[in-house]
């Protein structure tokens, strides 16, 4: 028997009259604002490990989150029980932060037309499971066939179809369906004397399933295997300040960590970011223009509407080194007397929205990739990154470079192991000395964590040269 697609029976996500009554209940104690967020997310995962499709998985999360705002105070309650009594209980719980009178009334809401940066004819939840399984089976085959040093392959395909409805007491109603997919392949290779190295690659986005006809599992698998093999025989990296060149594309996660988070409005309002109060000031080299754009077609971080019901935007954050503005959600924007930039995001209905990035990238410059590499006498070429983290308060950021090479007299040389980059965001940006004119393909595998909430993001960076970056390594002294 052929497996059937998992079909979700749903016409409208949530009844509008009930939404309007819930808003009324939330305002009973006379708050300034109330919002109802409804979510229904169907997700699928297929996991291949040790040459076998180990499991197929699927999940359904549904619930309602109710937010009440009174001044700078927020009351929040959620319910995964869609029973009316439970929902009204949540609305009243959320309203407790408000004091004073109000009368229960219904708040009329009207749908706002939205732009469309992704729209799938066939939602991912409706795609045959067997097609999803075939992707991981093909990836495994391709990775193992690519090189006899490949010892372990694990491949995962995950997708979700998320439906949201946001309504608030300003009469605003927005609904969106957000599909998201990702394939990921991890490869372990074994070289001489039992040396083991790993490679990881993947991607996807808010694309139709046919995306994997061109972004094939074979392509992903070969890249993961190539990265793993490239690391065999790697030598220890020299520790200390060096010139680094970042390869285009995925390196954008460095920008995301080093700069992006510090420009989120909640940190600015609380004065906990190094970038607070610096609009109009020079915070980076003239070559640096940073953009956060939620409107990139089909990209992993794109949003037709954010989780407060506002359309995503194109925002210039830093222009030729000068700080232009921050990323705002509606709540922080109002407290700071400005307007939202459509940056209010939350992981799911159990969470409060926060200002978050969407797709964050550095605008292209003028140099070619090869000229930039040739310009470096001695340094490190960072081809691929693992995880990274930032302390937005002191600006310290850290990155594990999963694929690195030494640069000697303008040429890329031996692979390096155990390389970590560390820096202070604004200082690193001031030390950007060359920006590439190359495209910056984002494969679509970024997930950003903040305050315990994960959201998908897009990243991008052309080839970049940064001077005086601290390279963490294990070797001190010796010939440079």
């Amino acid at each position: 028997m052929a497996p059937k697609p998992l079909k979700l029976v749903s016409t409208t996500l949530f009844p509008i009259p009930l939404t309007e009554r819930l808003l009324g209940a939330a305002m009973e104690r006379g708050a300034d604002f109330a919002e109802v967020f409804v979510e229904r997310t169907q997700s699928t995962a297929v996991v291949l490990d040790e040459e076998k499709v180990k499991s197929a998985q699927s999940g359904l999360a549904q619930g309602v989150g109710i937010r009440v705002i009174s001044g700078a105070k927020i009351g929040y309650a959620y319910s995964d029980d869609l029973d009316q009594a439970a929902l009204f209980r949540a609305a009243r719980t959320a309203s407790f932060i408000a004091h004073g009178g109000g009368s229960e009334q219904s708040f009329k809401v009207t749908r706002t037309p939205l732009p469309t940066f992704y729209s799938l004819k066939q939602h991912l939840e409706d795609v045959e499971l067997s097609s999803k399984r075939d992707l991981v089976v093909r990836a495994n085959k391709a990775a193992r066939a690519s090189d006899k040093r490949v010892k372990q392959v694990s491949a995962t395909y995950v997708d979700s179809t998320k439906r949201i409805l946001v309504a608030n007491t300003r009469g605003h109603l927005a609904e969106d369906t957000q599909d998201l997919s990702r394939i990921a392949v991890q490869v372990v290779v074994e070289g001489k004397k039992g040396e083991r190295r790993t490679g990881f690659y993947g991607g996807g986005g808010r694309m139709p399933f046919s995306h994997f006809d061109t972004f094939t599992p074979e392509l992903v698998a070969l890249e993961a295997a190539r990265q793993a093999c490239a690391g065999l025989g790697a030598v220890e990296a020299q520790a200390g300040e060096q010139t680094v060149v970042l390869a285009p594309g995925w390196s954008g996660i460095l920008l995301h960590e080093a700069v992006g988070h510090g420009l989120e409005a909640d940190f600015i309002r609380k004065g906990t970011s190094l970038f607070a109060g610096k609009v109009g000031e020079k915070v980076a080299s003239d070559l640096v223009t940073v953009i956060d754009d939620g409107t990139v077609a089909n990209s992993r971080g794109s949003l037709n509407v954010d989780d407060e019901g506002n359309p995503a935007q194109f925002k210039v954050l830093i222009e030729r080194g000068v700080l232009k503005g921050y990323m705002y959600d509606d709540f922080n924007a109002r407290l700071m007397n400005t307007a939202t930039t459509g940056s209010g995001r939350r992981e799911n209905f159990t969470c409060l929205p926060m200002p978050r990035m969407t797709n964050t990238y550095l605008a292209r410059g003028e140099d070619t990739h090869d000229d930039i590499v040739r310009s470096v006498d001695g340094g490190v070429y960072c081809a691929n990154f693992g995880g990274g983290q930032v302390d937005i308060t002191n600006g310290n950021f850290v990155f594990e470079v999963s694929e690195a090479y030494e640069i000697k007299k303008g040429k890329i040389g031996r692979p390096l192991k155990g390389v970590t980059l560390i820096g202070v965001g604004p200082e690193a940006l001031k030390n950007v000395s060359r920006v590439g004119n190359d495209p910056m393909p984002d494969p679509g595998m970024g997930t950003c964590g903040k305050d315990g909430q994960s959201v998908p993001v897009g990243v991008g960076l052309p080839t970049l040269r940064i001077d005086k970056m601290t390279v963490g390594g294990t070797r001190v002294g010796g010939a440079k």
């Binding site: 700078a72 200390g240 308060t393």
Partner: protein, 449 residues
């Protein structure tokens, strides 16, 4: 009307069996959470909710399917169990597939109470008062504390229910309460953050709001003026929190699945000396009043105490049922899960046994070295055994803590780091469900200028 979740789990298993599952397992989680954040003497946010979810694993013709849902309506539950059956058809048959075996099920240990009635009946304003007090203490600690990142207090009550077709059924309720304070100090152009938290199963064991706030503020102020240092190889001390993180990284390499795949630097070292002689690392699923204590693991297997490294010798890997079968071992009761995911190998109460030196002595013995109090990045590669993380802390000169340091990394090989632990403090401190005392590494690479 209250739902009998234990019965509901059994019903899910029965439905799965009826639909063709040869084995089935249902896992239900029900929780209640309440939390409060404050700012400028006022509530910033107050969150309260109850939530629930269930996950069901089925084996159909040796194939594994897994589904989860938050929809507990009768039709929702039927649909989700049936979905798990459909999903199994897509995966590959594997004779090793299956859940906990009967020989691993059976008598469960008595782990004492996991539930504090004081937390269950906590007054709604407890968290508000605690958070307000923490903010006040943070701000009063030092004039250089100019703002706070967040202060939060809250409590959780959780219930877990499990039923399997092998006849296991059980459930337990547990509580926890927590305090969190993150302060920001500023001087000149520099901002520094410091945070501290405490989380306990029993309210009476939770640190006072004042002590949590003071420690958060102290950690922020201590870093003011931090600078890079020159790259060098020196003795490095991890405070108990940082040491706990290090222990977690090391033990993730004892994960039975990584070991089976030889994707761990510890894979071939069972029974061998892997660490300094005074190093004993234990995962104790039975630790009295421990945050990670419960009678059974995510598959119903009795929890136990497992020494992973004993007196420097690698004594055990950690297994769940599937991995144990694959590796021809027994489950160590280390299946961790929540309803949205299948079980995977994890730890319960993991700690490094205390030594007998005071942290002051450990610092005093260092002529030139680095005392690490905060770290950035993930750092440990368990396949290659390389370790490198961003670090903040205080530089030690002639046995004294002197100037603050930031923007450096500490790096080494995990094997050499374990062998090079030359001092262990008497100050074992649990941070959630992981605990460690102060430790000193004989020599690590500090990368800076």
């Amino acid at each position: 009307m209250t739902t009998n979740y234990e019965q509901l789990a059994k019903k899910m298993v029965a439905r799965a069996k009826k639909r063709g599952a040869t084995q089935a397992e249902a896992f239900i989680q029900v929780g209640r959470e309440a939390s409060c954040r404050v700012r400028d003497g006022e509530i910033e946010s107050l969150t309260e909710a109850t939530s629930k979810g269930c996950g069901v694993r089925v084996i159909v013709n040796k194939r594994l399917g897994f589904a989860w849902t938050t929809d507990f309506t009768p039709s929702g539950i039927d649909a989700f169990v049936d979905r798990a059956i459909t999903l199994a058809e897509v995966s590959a048959p594997n004779p090793l597939n299956g859940f906990a075996e009967s020989r691993d099920l059976g008598a469960l240990p008595d782990v004492g109470s996991l539930c504090d009635s004081a937390i269950i009946s906590l007054a709604p304003d407890w968290k508000i008062k605690a958070a307000l007090e923490m903010e006040k203490v943070c701000r009063a600690f030092d004039p250089r504390i100019k703002t706070i990142d967040s202060v939060e207090a809250g409590e959780n009550v959780n219930e877990v229910y499990l039923a399997t077709s092998a006849g296991m059924q059980g459930g337990y309720q547990s509580t926890s309460a927590y305090l969190y304070a993150s302060a920001v100090a500023s001087e000149g152009e520099q901002l520094q953050t410091g945070y501290w938290h405490d989380v306990k199963r029993f309210l009476s064991e939770l640190g006072s709001p004042e002590s949590v706030a003071r420690e958060g503020a102290r950690r922020a102020v201590r870093l003011l003026g931090a600078k890079k240092v020159k790259s060098q190889q020196v003795p490095v001390i991890f405070d108990p929190s940082m040491a706990a993180g290090f222990i977690s990284s090391v033990v993730s390499a004892a994960n039975g699945d990584s070991v089976f795949k030889k994707s761990s630097f510890l894979a071939s070292k069972l029974g061998q000396r892997v660490a300094a002689e005074n190093v004993t690392i234990v995962d104790d699923g039975l630790l009295p009043r421990g945050l990670g204590t419960a009678p059974f693991d995510g598959e119903g297997v009795a929890r136990r105490r497992t020494p992973v490294i004993q007196n420097g010798v690698l004594t055990s890997f950690l297994y769940d049922s599937f991995t144990a079968r694959k590796a021809k071992q027994r489950s160590t009761g280390n299946a961790s899960r929540w309803y949205k995911s299948m079980p995977s190998i994890g730890t319960h109460n993991l700690y490094l046994e205390a030594g007998n030196k005071s942290p002051e002595e450990i610092i005093k013995e260092v002529p030139n070295g680095f005392y690490v109090t905060a770290m950035l990045g993930h750092g440990a590669n368990i396949v290659t055994g390389e370790y490198s993380r961003g670090a903040n802390g205080v530089w030690i000169v002639n046995g004294e803590l002197t100037r603050p340091v930031q923007e450096v990394t500490v790096a080494g090989k995990l094997t050499e780091m374990l062998e090079g632990i030359d001092a262990i403090g008497s100050d074992l401190h649990f941070r959630g469900s992981t605990g460690a005392p102060t430790i000193r590494f004989k020599e690590l690479t500090v990368s800076g200028e």
